[in-house]
C-alpha cells in the first residue's frame, strides 16, 4: 500500500457537507466533470450511489468506470475514501 494521500485524509477527517465531487479521493477535474455531467456534482450524491449499491466494492467500481470512465485505481481510491468516511461518520 502506498499510503494515504492528503486529499483522502482531508475528506475523511470531517463531514463532507456540501463538498464538491472533486474533493473525493481519486476524483480529479476530469472525472469530476464527467460525474457532474452525469448529475453527480456533489460528494454526497456519489455517497448516495455508493449506499444504493449497498457498499459493494465491485459494483461501485464498475459504476465508476461506466459513469466517468475511471481507472481501477481511481475507482478504488474513491471507494476507499467513501468507505472510510462512512466508517467514521455513518
Amino acid at each position: 500500500m502506498s499510503g494515504t494521500t492528503q486529499k483522502y485524509r482531508n475528506f475523511v477527517a470531517e463531514p463532507m457537507g456540501e463538498k464538491s465531487v472533486t474533493e473525493l479521493a481519486g476524483i480529479g477535474e476530469t472525472l469530476g466533470g464527467r460525474l457532474t455531467e452525469a448529475g453527480f456534482d456533489k460528494a454526497y450524491t456519489v455517497l448516495g450511489q455508493y449506499l444504493v449499491l449497498k457498499k459493494d466494492e465491485e459494483i461501485f467500481k464498475e459504476w465508476m468506470k461506466e459513469v466517468c470512465h475511471a481507472s481501477s485505481k481511481q475507482a478504488s481510491d474513491c471507494y476507499n475514501c467513501l468507505n472510510d468516511w462512512c466508517e467514521e461518520f455513518l
Binding site: M1, Q49, K54, E58, I59, W63
Partner: protein, 408 residues
C-alpha cells in the same frame, strides 16, 4: 441487447438478479446499466472481468449482507484482499497517530515478571503471523499487535492486582486474628504470638527475658493501644539505663496506676502499667513481703514506689487473693515463660500476672521496719539524705562550737 434485459422493468431486473444469485441492489436509472451488465454476464456465463468471475462463481448473496471487516471467508480471496487493503489503510491512519512497534517493546519490558504470559503472547503472535500474511505485510501486523497488546495489558493488570490483593489479604487477617485473640482472652493463641514476636524484631541475646516479654506484649497490643506502646518503649529505655545501677527505679512513677489515687496520668488506663509490671516480675526478689508482688527489689527507688508498696500491702490485705480483675495482671500476659492459666478464670487477657504473686508471697519476712528501711534507702539514694544529714549535723556542730567558744 438481444436478451431483452433492457426492456425489463426495474422490478423484473431485481427479480432476475435474485434468480441468478446476484446482489440485490435497488434498480434505478443510475444503477440499471450496471445491474443489466452483471445480469447479462451471469446469464451467459461469461465473466465480466477476472474478479467479477470469481465473485459470480462464489455466493454473492452472502457478501452483500456481510460487513466489510467482520468475516473473512476463504472463498472470497480477491474480495478479502481488497478489503484487507482497506483495513490496512485504516490501520495506517491510526498507526500514524498511535505507536505500535515501540509500544510493543515497552510492554515487553513491563511484563518481565509474568514470564508465562509473555511467552504466551509471543506464541500467540507467531500463530497469528500467517493470518496476517495475506494483507499488507508491513502494516497490518502492527495493528494486530496493538490489539493483542491491549488485551495482553488487561490480563497483566488483572494478575498484578490479584497478587497485591492476595498479599494484603494475608496481612489483614493476621492482624484481625491478633486483635480477636486478645479480645476473647484466650491464652492458647497468645502463646505462639509471644514466642514469635522476639525473632521478628531480633532483640539482642543480651536482653533479659523480662525485656523480651515486655517487647512481645508491645507487639501484641501496640495497635489497639498506641499510648500503651509509647509507655512501654519509655520503660525500656529506663530499664536499660537502670540495669547498671538500679533496674527498678523507673517503675515507681507507673506504680501509681494501680492505686485508686490519681497520682499520675496513667491511672486511668490499666494497660499503662504493663511496663512497670514486667520490670517488677523480672526484678522480683525474695525479700519482698507477700503483698508486694509487683514491686522489684530496688534500693534506689524514689518515694513513690515505697508509698505504692505500702498501699499495695494494705490493699492486698483488704482484698482477696484472686486479683484477677486488677489492672496489674495485664502486664504478665506478655511473658512466654509463664504457664498459662485457664481462660475461664480470666476476665480478660490482662490476667496473666497472677502466677507471679506466689513467687513474691513466698517471702513474707518483710516487716514495717524493713519497709521503712527500704524507704529510707530509697530516699537516700534519690535525694542524698545522708549527705544533707551529715551536712546539717556538721553545721549544727559548728554552730554549737561557735556558740560555746564565743563569749556571750
Amino acid at each position: 441487447m438481444s436478451d431483452g434485459l433492457d426492456a425489463l422493468s426495474n422490478k423484473e431486473l431485481l427479480a432476475r438478479c435474485r434468480q441468478y444469485g446476484l446482489p440485490v441492489i435497488p434498480v434505478t436509472d443510475s444503477t440499471r446499466n450496471v445491474i443489466t451488465r452483471r445480469l447479462r454476464a451471469a446469464m451467459l456465463g461469461t465473466p465480466l472481468n477476472k474478479s467479477q468471475t470469481q465473485k459470480n462463481a462464489n455466493s454473492a448473496t452472502t457478501k452483500k449482507s456481510t460487513p466489510r471487516r467482520e468475516t473473512i471467508h476463504a472463498e472470497k480471496v480477491n474480495n478479502n484482499t481488497r478489503e484487507r487493503q482497506n483495513q490496512s489503510r485504516r490501520t495506517i491512519a491510526h498507526g500514524l497517530d498511535n505507536v505500535s512497534l515501540s509500544g510493543r517493546s515497552v510492554q515487553t519490558t513491563t511484563t518481565v515478571s509474568d514470564v508465562g504470559s509473555q511467552s504466551e503472547d509471543d506464541d500467540y503472535y507467531m500463530v497469528q503471523v500467517p493470518d496476517v500474511g495475506y494483507s499488507k505485510p508491513t502494516q497490518t501486523p502492527p495493528n494486530r499487535e496493538d490489539e493483542r497488546r491491549m488485551r495482553r495489558s488487561v490480563s497483566l493488570t488483572k494478575s498484578g492486582v490479584l497478587t497485591t490483593s492476595y498479599t494484603r489479604e494475608v496481612d489483614a487477617p493476621r492482624y484481625d486474628e491478633l486483635d480477636e485473640v486478645n479480645e476473647p482472652t484466650s491464652f492458647t493463641y497468645e502463646r505462639p504470638r509471644v514466642s514469635h514476636a522476639p525473632p521478628v524484631h531480633s532483640s539482642p541475646s543480651s536482653y533479659e527475658p523480662d525485656y523480651r516479654r515486655t517487647f512481645a506484649t508491645d507487639l501484641n497490643q501496640s495497635r489497639p493501644h498506641l499510648t500503651q506502646t509509647q509507655l512501654n518503649s519509655t520503660s525500656y529505655l529506663d530499664a536499660d539505663y537502670n540495669q547498671y545501677s538500679t533496674p527498678k527505679s523507673y517503675e515507681s512513677p507507673l506504680r501509681s496506676a494501680t492505686n485508686p489515687t490519681p497520682r499520675s496520668p496513667f491511672t486511668s488506663t490499666p494497660e499503662s502499667t504493663q511496663p512497670r509490671q514486667r520490670q517488677t516480675v523480672s526484678g522480683s526478689s525474695p525479700s519482698w513481703p507477700a503483698g508486694r508482688l509487683i514491686h522489684p527489689t530496688t534500693k534506689v527507688d524514689t518515694l513513690y514506689p515505697k508509698l505504692d508498696n505500702l498501699y499495695d500491702r494494705q490493699h492486698r490485705q483488704t482484698l482477696p487473693s484472686t486479683g484477677s480483675h486488677r489492672p496489674m495482671d495485664v502486664d504478665t500476659d506478655s511473658e512466654p515463660d509463664e504457664p498459662q492459666l485457664s481462660p475461664s478464670s480470666r476476665l480478660s487477657s490482662n490476667t496473666r500476672p497472677q502466677m507471679r504473686r506466689p513467687l513474691v508471697r513466698q517471702n513474707p519476712q518483710n516487716g514495717p521496719m524493713q519497709q521503712f528501711g527500704e524507704l529510707v534507702r530509697a530516699l537516700d539514694r534519690q535525694y542524698h539524705l545522708r549527705y544533707y544529714l551529715l551536712l546539717t549535723v556538721l553545721v549544727m556542730v559548728a554552730t554549737m562550737i561557735y556558740v560555746v567558744v564565743t563569749p556571750s
